[in-house]
Amino acid sequence: MTAASSTPEQDIVAAIREQVGNAVQDVKVDRKGRVSVVAPKETMVEVAAWLQRAGLDHAITVSGVDRPRENQLDVVYFLSSYCREDIKGLVVSLKIHLDRENPSLPSLTPIWESANLFERETHEMFGVAFEGHPNLSRLLLQDNWEGPPPLRKDLKIPELA
């Protein structure tokens, strides 16, 4: 497929462009050991399934980033591999841009079960709804918490006096 002198990061980027290129918005090599993929909400399940078949079987973390200035809320999945020796050291990030008013996206727990607890935490801290998640109950906050989702920029904590 590619010449022997290319790096694993470039191999993955080339394979993504070739096989699911019309389902992603952007794919590039960030720096050594990091590949970033941006996909829209509609095709993210297809891209995720392709990445899982390509050998990325470990979702190491899932995070949300609140950007009120661009009126966006990003959800980022970080993926790595347990078994494939050539891509064990890479981290591939899959980012989805969402609307800040009512963020919701399909859950990727059926593909990577290790993302279960992280999606639950992101739902609690940012208010993102994951459709199809088996159990979206309270994880870290106390039972009588009634404010807005804590990690959004709307909630300001008082400064230490």
Binding site: H58, A59, F78, A115, L151
Partner: protein
């Protein structure tokens, strides 16, 4: 944490952990403090193994700033992290394999040997547990006089005393009977649940960030990644015990090869725009810090993901079908640190 358990006689049918009792909001507070002020706060989620949390936070910030740490600084960082790994494994074996199964002698042996390592850390950094020793660009202090001799003397004593720990715990037939065959995690389940650290290596998967994506000077030292295939509690404890021996081997090589030179490079007090992720192998698993910067002196978003949180998925799975009396052994073999999971 609380574990809510449904039993059928003596066997557990379903177990649900309830965490969040020590949640302090570290990620939210980190957005309102600048880069340096975050260091003591973000290393306190795991006081027994604080230098790994520190390094995993500093690594993405250095990547964004484009600062390269000098060689001597990397050697000092790796030495402190390996000493911390031995101290943390001794703590885990003392409390989780010791107290949780009623073995008080192991508690005394583990904590007594850990005191010698904490004395070494105190000589290097000034503090016993939460060091706040790594800053962007390098480390804060150089080796004091007499450090290398004391380190080698302590390592000689530790190697002899590990034989005593082997005789009272790892080869002790009473402990082996309690731990063998209990809480088996097969290789496919370990990969599916996404566990990390000694829990993963005790199930036959040979993964370690120090070998897969080397950082510091781990690509220049010679060590092995230990793994056992049985997947029960005994193999998880054996992984930790053998890792102490490998850490002693790494420390001897590092103490011999430290180069001369500066220990730190100047770095600006800003987090430039962009995002980066840091990966570090701590004693309980892989730690990731995802840092997003916007050009100011405070990070825009810090996401911490620790080994204990990733291993939590294995607890309800392992407790099914286990007797109530074996629950402390299964919970202890995961070496779960609640504050690190809740942040």
């Amino acid at each position: 944490m609380r574990i809510m358990v449904k039993t059928d006689g003596d066997l557990i049918v379903e177990a649900t952990p309830d965490i969040g009792y020590v949640h302090r909001g570290c990620e939210k507070i980190a957005e309102s403090r600048n880069v340096i002020k975050n260091i003591p706060m973000l290393e306190r989620p795991n006081i027994a193994d604080a230098s790994h949390l520190n390094w995993s936070y500093i690594k993405p910030i250095e990547e964004l700033q484009g600062v390269e740490v000098p060689e001597r600084g990397l050697y000092i960082r790796t030495i402190l992290c390996e000493m911390n790994r031995i101290a943390s494994h001794l703590y885990g074996m003392a409390i989780m394999a010791g107290i949780f199964s009623g073995h008080t002698t192991m508690y005394m042996f583990g904590f007594g040997d850990r005191e010698l390592l904490l004395d070494l850390c105190e000589m290097l950094t000034g503090a016993r547990m939460t060091f706040s020793f790594f800053v962007p660009g390098g480390v804060r202090r150089d080796f004091p006089r007499g450090f290398k001799e004391k380190l080698l003397e302590t390592l000689d004593y530790l190697e002899r005393h590990l034989g005593a720990i082997d005789r009272i715990l790892v080869s002790n037939p009473v402990f082996v009977e309690r731990a063998r065959g209990v809480g088996v995690l097969k290789k496919e389940d370990a990969i599916r649940l996404g566990v990390v650290g000694p829990v993963l290596r005790g199930s036959g998967v040979r993964c370690d960030v120090r070998k897969d994506a080397p950082y510091g000077v781990y690509d220049r030292v010679d060590f092995e990644v230990i793994s056992f295939v049985e997947g029960d509690c005994l193999s998880r404890w054996l992984v930790r015990f053998e890792e102490i021996k490998q850490s002693i081997r790494i420390l001897r090589q590092l103490a011999r090869d430290v180069p001369k030179g500066p220990i730190a490079k100047k770095s600006p007090l800003v987090v430039p725009g962009g995002e980066a992720i840091g990966r570090v192998e701590s004693s309980r698993g892989e730690i990731n810090h995802y840092v997003v910067g916007d050009g100011g002196d405070k990070p825009y978003r810090v996401k911490m993901s620790t080994g204990s949180f990733k291993n939590l998925a294995a607890l309800p799975f392992l407790l099914k079908g286990v007797r109530i009396g074996d629950m402390p052994m299964v919970y202890g073999s995961l070496d779960y640190w609640p504050v690190e999971a809740d942040r």
